[in-house]
Amino acid sequence: MESKAWLKDKLANLATEIDGVEFKYGYDKLSETHFVSVAPSGLLTSDERFNSLRFDLLHDFYNLYASESVVFLPVEEAEEFSDYEEVICRSQTIDSYLDWLNASSIVESEVKLSSGSQESAAREGNYAIAA
């Protein structure tokens, strides 16, 4: 398997293990370096589980593709080193949250609409509708 595909596949797996993580991917052909932008960046310095899993990923990668490098970067510094593809994977938690957020905003707008109908009906003296 090509190294890029291998790495992206493993990053997708890693995203299922770590709540709230988001990865972007970039590649510098000349230095044969794969760049992975990580958000939130605190994971890189303070999350033992994440670091244990990424150490295993790096160890496996270097056994397969010894001449290439993989660098994990905090999202705030990532742009200095590469251009990135769109978000390639994020944890289910973020997806669930975004789904919830979208659903909430739809419900909220429906409530406002409904509330507005009640007010206008009351103003017009149609208390049956307002109720």
Binding site: D28, S31, R54, S69, F72
Partner: protein, 88 residues
């Protein structure tokens, strides 16, 4: 790993990887045996400085003072990891 191991692997690495890449892998694996966080940091810092070095030597773009400062900081961070873990 003793001196003979290092010599034999180093010789074979010249044909396979080049000595720079070989020693990076060895230090990464060695650090990982007792400090995974240090191994990951070493990997990230060395990868970044390598990228800057390649850019400086082979790209047509110039490395500015900001990137030079960044490379200097990365080199210092790498040395600190090596000092803390190997007493060098």
């Amino acid at each position: 790993m003793d001196v003979e191991d290092i010599q034999s692997q180093s010789v074979s690495s010249v044909n396979m990887l080049g000595t720079h890449r070989w020693i990076q892998k060895e230090i990464f694996a060695s650090l990982g045996q007792h400090d995974i966080m240090a191994a990951n940091q070493f990997n990230d810092y060395i990868g970044r400085i390598k990228s800057l070095r390649v850019k400086a030597d082979y790209h047509f773009s110039l490395v500015g003072s900001r990137e030079a400062g960044k490379a200097h900081q990365l080199a210092s961070d790498i040395l600190n990891i090596l000092k803390e873990n190997y007493g060098v």
